[in-house]
């Protein structure tokens, strides 16, 4: 296996790992979804570290929102 192939496999593993974490934390909050969004995000993440970081940033605020909402619920309960 060449270094390039190893890198591409590693990128795929990072994508798969991140997707499970993100998908499990994400609430279906959007009233309208661009049907091409998933394909766009997947390709950016497959494109390498830079793309994965950009996509990661997009999800970061959603993760923060999720944590805040859990915190609010805990305080209220």
């Amino acid at each position: 296996m060449t270094i390039r192939n190893r890198t591409s496999r590693l990128a795929e593993h990072i994508v798969l790992g991140s997707v499970f974490v993100l998908a499990s934390s994400a609430a279906p909050a959007f009233a309208y979804l661009d049907p091409g969004t998933g394909s766009m995000m997947l390709q950016l993440m497959l494109g390498g570290v830079a793309g994965a970081l950009v996509v990661g940033k997009l999800y970061l605020h959603r993760a923060r929102e999720f944590i805040r909402s859990v915190g609010r619920r805990l305080r209220a309960g």
């Binding site: 997707v19 661009d34 969004t37 998933g38 394909s39 995000m41 997009l58």
Partner: protein, 465 residues
Amino acid sequence: MTAAGAQSVPGSYRDPAGGVHRLGDRILRTVSPEHEEDFNVALRTGLLDRLADEGRIVAFESLPLPAEALGLAGAVRVLEHPRLPFISHPYEWSFEALRAAALHHLDIHLEVMEGGVTLSDASAYNVQFIGTRPVFIDHLSFRPYRDGEIWAGYRQFCEQFLNPLLFCAATGVMPNAWYRGALEGIPTSDVRRLLPWRAKLSRRVLLHVVAHSALEKAGPASGEAAGAAKAALLPRDAFLRMLRDLRAWIAKLQPKGRRSLWSDYMTTCSYTDDEQAAKKEEVAAFAAAVAPGMLWDMGCNTGEYSLLALKSGARRAIGWDGDAAAVDAAFVAAQAAGAELTPLVGDLANPSPSQGWSQAERAGLLERSSADAVMALAVVHHLLFGANVPLPQAVGWLVGIGPRGLIEFVPPGDVQVRAMIARRSTHHPYDRDTFVAALQRVARIERSTVLGPSARELFWYDRTR
């Protein structure tokens, strides 16, 4: 852009880059001013000419402008294409045909990428078949590749090629009925829900189905996504790796547990070798005498008689059968023989309707074209007993497809027909006299041939006299 004369083809309204028009028997394609530069750049690479010379995209010729005389005033470029023998829809393709179309699409994309050109979409409707040879038909899909851009047609490729193939490979269920109802293809999120968990252990399924669908569900708003796509890049190498990896995957997929009622019919049917030889002789004589430019074999099974007709005088043939496994066998046999047969999946009692936008985007079976000749071998009793179609209607419909034809009548005493009758308490009249009277009402019977002791009989009709 269409004036009097040329008529816009209903299925070509989507692409703002141009459109396809019909002028009598001629097929013309206009290029819109907005797409002119992109098309010219793609054309100057010489890739389109090479692919056309190799027969992998449909041939084209630039017509002199202005095109007012053609009724296409305002077009910045007009291409003329040869007319294809038949337009089929992806939901009429068997597994092997859909696979061949998918591989053809990927091969063309990989090849043009080497020359700095990419494809703007990945619609399965942009592939057609001449015999079993796939041909790409949308010249306006070619445009210059911009370094770092994502694969715009990826989602469409998954929905229209990968997902139906994968669904069939993982479950053994043919996707044609679903695809026919969902013209844009099978959504990735639906396939994810239906795939068995074991199928999801595959790296490629996790990536192209599970991750793809999860990112779509949990994705950012489209504005944010578009911004991200501008900020980040898909390196060319990663783009090519995706295309190559999909190609390698699709080439290896197989329908799960393929078992067909009809694909082994040729070895289990209820008549003798002599009768089969007599049937072949009659089919060959019919094809030689009529020499149809286009023969439709209704209920083609594994294509044996279509292939024989092609050897004996028919120029091209389309085969229809409801059994996708038999159609796959016919597709592979036609490929091996290099024959001009396109076997397609279709329920004769429920042929493809006109549908899509304005109920005209994807033309129904009989709206598309008609045949010069029809063969319907051992089919009529299936229409009567399988779909309760009365004999006069079944015969009338078949004869309506082509002016000349060969129809087999299987007598009520045949072992298979007896089994069908035994399962029913009542059915429409089924006997030779009713059949002959029905055929004589719509056509002249040229001759009839009893095949042997089974009393199966072939009727050669002509409704032009």
